[in-house]
């Protein structure tokens, strides 16, 4: 019995290690501006969604984020439009990113909240994390965007793929002039 427990805990640790490694490598691709390779990490049916955050009374927290598939938001993307965004970056005349931003995706508090069917043979995982996206460009243009990420990963042929990313930005009024980097 004790050995089974140990195996479960080991499986969970190994899975978390694997997923953390995947997410860190993904962040490297973004910060190294290897966007086409980043796209390869997204499932074909990926949903990349970033609601707007609102200031609401303590007992109205259901209204804090705009509703998925119904309300306005900052991003509501599938793979096709994310691919278009990468193409736009590659034109060299996407002025908001010309010259390119320097970004550092700092990822922390990575925690697996569910693994299916189980940790030892996980095909799908749900991962929570915090991000701090530092962006600096030209001389003094600096954005520090922090928040929560809820990712769904799916094991496909060739490795893990991101099938869903929900980004909750901890700002109601966006304090950046635009959002031309990926989260």
């Amino acid at each position: 019995m004790g050995e089974v427990m140990a195996d479960d805990r080991l499986s969970a640790m190994l899975l978390e290690h694997e997923i953390r490694g995947f997410l860190h490598a993904e962040a490297d691709l973004l910060d190294d501006r290897r966007f086409p390779e980043w796209l390869d990490l997204l499932a074909e049916d990926v949903r990349y969604w970033m609601p707007i955050t609102r200031n609401v009374r303590h007992d109205q927290s259901a209204l804090e984020y705009t509703r998925e598939q119904q309300d306005s938001c900052w991003f509501d993307e599938g793979k096709e439009t994310l691919r278009q965004r990468v193409q736009q970056l590659q034109t060299g005349i996407h002025w908001a990113e010309e010259p390119r931003s320097r970004t550092a995706h700092l990822l922390t508090n990575i925690r697996i909240v569910s693994a299916l069917p189980d940790a030892a043979s996980a095909k799908e995982v749900e991962v929570r994390s915090r991000f701090l996206l530092y962006r600096n460009r030209i001389h003094d243009e600096t954005d520090i965007l922090a928040g929560k990420r809820l990712d769904h990963l799916r094991r496909e042929e060739g490795g893990w793929r991101i099938s869903r990313r929900e980004i909750r930005l901890d700002q109601s009024v966006l304090l950046a002039k635009n959002l031309t980097t990926f989260f």
């Binding site: 609401v56 209204l63 306005s72 439009t81 034109t91 996407h94 002025w95 009024v173 966006l174 635009n178």
Partner: protein, 453 residues
């Protein structure tokens, strides 16, 4: 400070950089423009039920847009009359009374309790500490004297003497209608997608107003998105091909846009949204209904437009409202609200929302590049040397033609800076002060006079 005539020289077609960066000019704008003009403050869909409220802005000031128990929409200054505390720090909600967290004064808009909206109804210690001597009637919240609901959009002015809103819109009204009416021609008929995008941009607010009043010349800004192609029918470009766009401006009002000239017959249907057959079918049916509904009435379609001073709209693809709230001479807070036909099938609304969001807003593949230009134009205009050299607004000067169907309206042709001259001409008139009778008098067409005599 330089005289207004040297700051905005319509004869020469130049505008000083000072009006985009100068603190003193900014302070005067807040008084003379934002303290008097009709300002867009929100949409009725933000406050659908009694006691709903939404916190908005007028100039640099926070205001509460609220629907009272009688259904009327009021606009109140979001500042307690006792010590100035900001009453509502949330973005919206529903409340019977606005109670200040500082000393507890509370205010109501319920017409059964109060004579004027925002009257002071609750004062802790009124009988004991104040000995019943406080004149509650004179310490109600400051309420905006002029508020209108125009086809769902809410507008307000601090100036009790401001002209009626429809007169303020004048002949340009037909273009705003084209954005707010149902695509099939029925009045009103649009609704807003829930939620308001709000973001800060370190540029003068007028860059945005100028951009949307009619600057087709800035196409190079968007070449990258055009190369990729994000339009709803596929292929290159940002949208389905617009019909006969031209520069339409009203120098006596300060409004203008890129749109069609008015006409009586509905042009033949051209398929749009071809990537989405269900949506394309919807617009085909809407076209047929429009032909029936409008008969031979005068009609237009709208591309973009600006209502002086700081509200702009896209009427077609995308279909949205933008507001440019001044924060400082070199910073604004931009808002975007998205519109769809209220009774459209869900799939039409969904496709529209996705398209709008990949086009507009800070994450929009088109709009993100606009902000780059506005921000760095502002930054590069701040130095004392740069400020000596005005911007050039000479394109198309002296080539505008009156539009017979629209008194006071001028057609500048497809590529023209006519509408920027319209905007800054009106800006100058408001900054000069003067009463509304003079401001609304017909014949103020300085923006149309030819350059260089």
């Amino acid at each position: 400070m330089d005289t207004l005539n040297s700051l905005v020289d319509l004869q020469a077609g130049t505008v000083s950089r000072e009006i985009f960066v100068n603190d003193e000019i900014f302070r005067q704008e807040l008084e003379r423009i934002f303290g008097r003009a009709w300002l867009f403050v929100g949409h009725e869909d933000l406050v659908p039920k009694p006691d709903d409220f939404f916190v908005s802005r007028m100039g640099t000031e926070s205001v509460i847009l609220t629907r009272d128990r009688q259904g009327k929409i009021n606009v109140l200054l979001n500042s307690c009359m006792h010590r100035g505390m900001k009453l509502c720090r949330s973005d919206g909600g529903n409340t019977r009374a606005f109670t200040c967290p500082y000393h507890g004064w509370s205010y109501s808009t319920d017409g059964r309790l109060v004579e004027t909206p925002g009257e002071l109804v609750g004062v802790p210690g009124f009988a004991t500490h104040y000995r019943g001597e406080l004149d509650k009637k004179s310490w109600g919240l400051v309420h905006c004297p002029r508020v209108v609901n125009y086809k769902g959009t809410i507008w307000a002015s601090w100036d009790a003497k401001a002209p009626d809103f429809e007169d303020y819109l004048g002949g340009f009204r037909i273009y705003l209608d084209a954005a707010l009416d149902h695509r099939d021609g029925r009045e009103g008929g649009s609704e807003m997608v829930g939620g308001v995008q709000k973001w800060r941009v370190k540029c003068n607010w007028k860059f945005a107003a100028e951009n949307f009043i009619g600057d087709l010349y800035h196409d190079i800004s968007h070449r990258s998105v055009d190369l990729v192609g994000i339009g709803p029918s596929g292929g290159k470009g940002r949208r389905d091909r617009p019909r006969g766009r031209t520069t339409i401006g009203f120098p006596g009002l300060g409004h203008g846009g890129l749109a069609e000239l008015p006409h009586h017959a509905e042009p033949d249907y051209v398929a749009t949204y071809r990537n989405h057959p269900e949506v394309e079918e919807y617009y085909r049916q809407v076209h047929e209904a429009r032909v029936r509904n409008l008969g031979d009435r005068l009609r237009v379609t709208t591309g973009t437009g600006t209502i002086f001073p700081n509200m702009s709209f896209h009427g077609r693809q995308p279909r949205t409202i933008a507001v440019f709230h001044p924060i400082s001479p070199t910073e604004m807070e931009m808002w975007r609200i998205y519109l769809v036909d209220r009774d459209a099938p869900q799939v039409v609304k969904d496709v529209a929302r996705h398209y709008y969001l990949r086009y507009s807003g800070p994450g929009g593949m088109t709009e993100s590049d606009d902000m780059e230009n506005w921000v760095y134009a502002t930054e590069a205009s701040m130095g004392p040397v740069a400020r000596r050299f005005p911007y050039n607004y000479q394109m198309g000067a002296g080539h505008s033609q009156p539009i017979p169907e629209l008194p006071g309206g001028f057609d500048g042709g497809e590529y023209s800076e006519q509408n920027a001259r319209v905007l800054y001409g009106r800006w100058k008139q408001l900054m000069e002060g003067g009463d509304w009778d003079a401001l609304m008098a017909p014949g103020s067409h300085a923006a149309m006079e030819p350059a260089h005599g």
